[in-house]
C-alpha cells in the first residue's frame, strides 16, 4: 500500500512549523515519528496534501526536572522515556508505560508529542499523562498556552489543539509512589484492548480504549479518596462509559475488563 502524494516541508523550529501550518491550513499535518500517521497514509485513510516534518527539532528532545515538575520535550522518543534514569527515579510510570508502547522499533521512532496529538483512545502514553494530571504546552501563532491533560482530549482522534498549533512540551508531576499500569491485549505488539493507569495511590486513574478519548475514571478516584476498597472502587470503573466494540472486545466485555484491570492496577499500586 502506497501513500498518496503530498508536499513536504522541513520545519527549522517550532515557530517555523506553526507558521507553515498557518500557511497551509487544515490540509497540512505535522510529521514527527510518523508511526501513527504513516500507516494511515499507506491505507489512504489520511491524505494530507502537505506534511510539515518536525522530526529534526532536536531541541524539543529533552527530559528535565524542576521543583517537582518533569518537563518532556514533544519530540522525545518513546525509547528515550523508557530508558530515562530521571524518569525511573522521579516518574517511573512514564518510563514503564513507554516501554509497553508498540515494539522496540516503534519506540525508537514514535514521539510523546506525536502520540498525544494523535489522541488515539487506545494509546498508552496519553492515559499515563492523564492519570498523572499532566499538562500539555502548545505553541501557536500567538505563543504558548498550557492545556491540562484533562481538557486536552476532546473526541475520537481529536484534541484541543488548533490546526495551527503544535505540542512543544509535556509536563507531569514527579510521582514515584503508588502507581501501576495494566495493559491487556492479545498480542504484545498490539494496541490495548483495555488499559488502566493508576497514579498517586489511586488519586489519578485513567482508562485506555474505554471511550472515544482517553478517560479519567472519576468515580474510581472518588471512591478511593473516600476510603473504599480496591474491589469496591474498581466496580465503578466502567460507570457511565460507552466503550467501543471491535474484533477483540464488545462493549460489555470491555466494561468487565475495565473493572478487572482497575482492581489489579489499584492493588498493584498499593490500594488494598
Amino acid at each position: 500500500m502506497i501513500p498518496a502524494s503530498f508536499d513536504y516541508e522541513v520545519a527549522e523550529s517550532a515557530e517555523h512549523a506553526v507558521a507553515l501550518l498557518a500557511e497551509h491550513g487544515d490540509e497540512a499535518k505535522l510529521l514527527a515519528g510518523g508511526h501513527s500517521l504513516i500507516p494511515m497514509m499507506r491505507f489512504r485513510l489520511a491524505t494530507p496534501t502537505v506534511l510539515v516534518d518536525v522530526g529534526r527539532l532536536d531541541d524539543l528532545r529533552y527530559i528535565n526536572a524542576d521543583n517537582g515538575t518533569i518537563s518532556i520535550g514533544a519530540l522525545t522518543r518513546h525509547s528515550e522515556l523508557e530508558h530515562s534514569e530521571l524518569l525511573a527515579r522521579s516518574c517511573p510510570m512514564m518510563a514503564s508505560v513507554a516501554a509497553l508502547v508498540g515494539d522496540p522499533a516503534v519506540r525508537h521512532r514514535g514521539t510523546l508529542g506525536g502520540t498525544l496529538a494523535h489522541s488515539d483512545p487506545a494509546s498508552d502514553l496519553p492515559a499515563a499523562v492523564l492519570a498523572l494530571g499532566g499538562t500539555i504546552v502548545a505553541r501557536g501563532p500567538s505563543g504558548d498556552r498550557e492545556i491540562a491533560a484533562t481538557d486536552f482530549f476532546t473526541g475520537y482522534f481529536e484534541s484541543a489543539l488548533a490546526d495551527d498549533e503544535m505540542i512543544v512540551e509535556v509536563r507531569v508531576p514527579a510521582s514515584d509512589a503508588g502507581w501501576n499500569y495494566q495493559k491487556f491485549n492479545r498480542r504484545a505488539q498490539d494496541w490495548a484492548i483495555v488499559g488502566v493507569a493508576v497514579a498517586d495511590a489511586g488519586a489519578g486513574v485513567s482508562l485506555v480504549n474505554m471511550g472515544s478519548t482517553p478517560l479519567r475514571a472519576s468515580a474510581v478516584e472518588a471512591a478511593v479518596a473516600s476510603g473504599a476498597s480496591a474491589a469496591d472502587a474498581a466496580a465503578l470503573a466502567a460507570e457511565g462509559l460507552q466503550p467501543p466494540s471491535d474484533l477483540n472486545a464488545d462493549a460489555d466485555y470491555r466494561r468487565h475488563l475495565a473493572r478487572v484491570f482497575t482492581q489489579r492496577a489499584l492493588n498493584a499500586a498499593g490500594v488494598a
Binding site: 501513500p3 503530498f6 508511526h35 499507506r42 525509547s79 515494539d103 521512532r109 498480542r187 504484545a188
Partner: protein, 160 residues
C-alpha cells in the same frame, strides 16, 4: 522531488525521491538493496527492519525524506567485507533460526538492535523485544535461542 543523502552501510548515496517514497522502497527500488523485505502494510511484521543511526526502525513506516542525513544499516551491511557473517547472523545459522528466510533480514536487524539496547536479556526479554517481528515458519524458539546466545556471549558485534 526531493534530494536526499543517505549514508547506507557506510557509503553516502544521493537520491532524488518523491516525498511519499517509503524508505524501504528507496532502499530496494532505487538503491537495489533488496535484502530488506516487505511483509505487510500496517507496521506489524518487521520484515523491513533496518538500523537508523544504530537503532532498529521499520523502513516501511518512514518516508525516505525523513532519513535524509541519517546513517542506515541494512542486512547487506552487517557481515564483514570478507563475507564473515555478523555474530547474530552466525547465531541464526547455528540455531536453525530461519526456514524460508523472508522475515530473517528484519529479524536479524531487530535482534542486533535489541541486544545493544537491553543488556540483560532473558527469554522473556527476547520474546518481547522481538514482538514486532513476525515469523511464520520457525515458531520462534530457535530465534530466541540464537539471540540469547549472542546476548550471553558478550560478542554483540555492534555495527559501528
Amino acid at each position: 522531488m526531493e534530494s536526499i543523502t543517505l549514508a547506507v552501510n557506510g557509503t553516502e548515496r544521493n537520491l532524488e525521491v518523491e516525498p511519499r517514497t517509503l524508505l524501504v522502497h528507496a532502499l530496494r527500488d532505487d538503491l537495489r538493496l533488496t535484502g530488506t523485505n516487505i511483509g505487510c502494510d500496517s507496521s506489524s511484521c518487521g520484515a523491513c527492519t533496518v538500523l537508523i543511526n544504530g537503532q532498529s526502525a521499520k523502513s516501511c513506516t518512514m518516508f525516505a525524506v525523513q532519513a535524509d542525513g541519517a546513517d542506515i544499516t541494512t542486512i547487506e551491511g552487517v557481515a564483514d567485507s570478507d563475507g564473515t557473517m555478523h555474530p547474530m547472523q552466525q547465531a541464526f545459522h547455528e540455531h536453525h533460526a530461519l526456514q524460508c528466510g523472508y522475515c530473517t533480514p528484519g529479524m536479524v536487524m531487530a535482534a542486533i538492535s535489541l541486544v545493544e539496547e537491553y543488556p540483560d536479556l532473558d527469554d522473556q526479554g527476547v520474546r518481547h523485544g522481538l514482538e514486532g517481528n513476525l515469523c511464520r515458519c520457525t515458531g520462534y524458539q530457535n530465534i530466541v535461542n540464537a539471540v540469547l546466545a549472542v546476548a550471553g556471549s558478550g560478542s554483540k558485534g555492534s555495527e559501528s
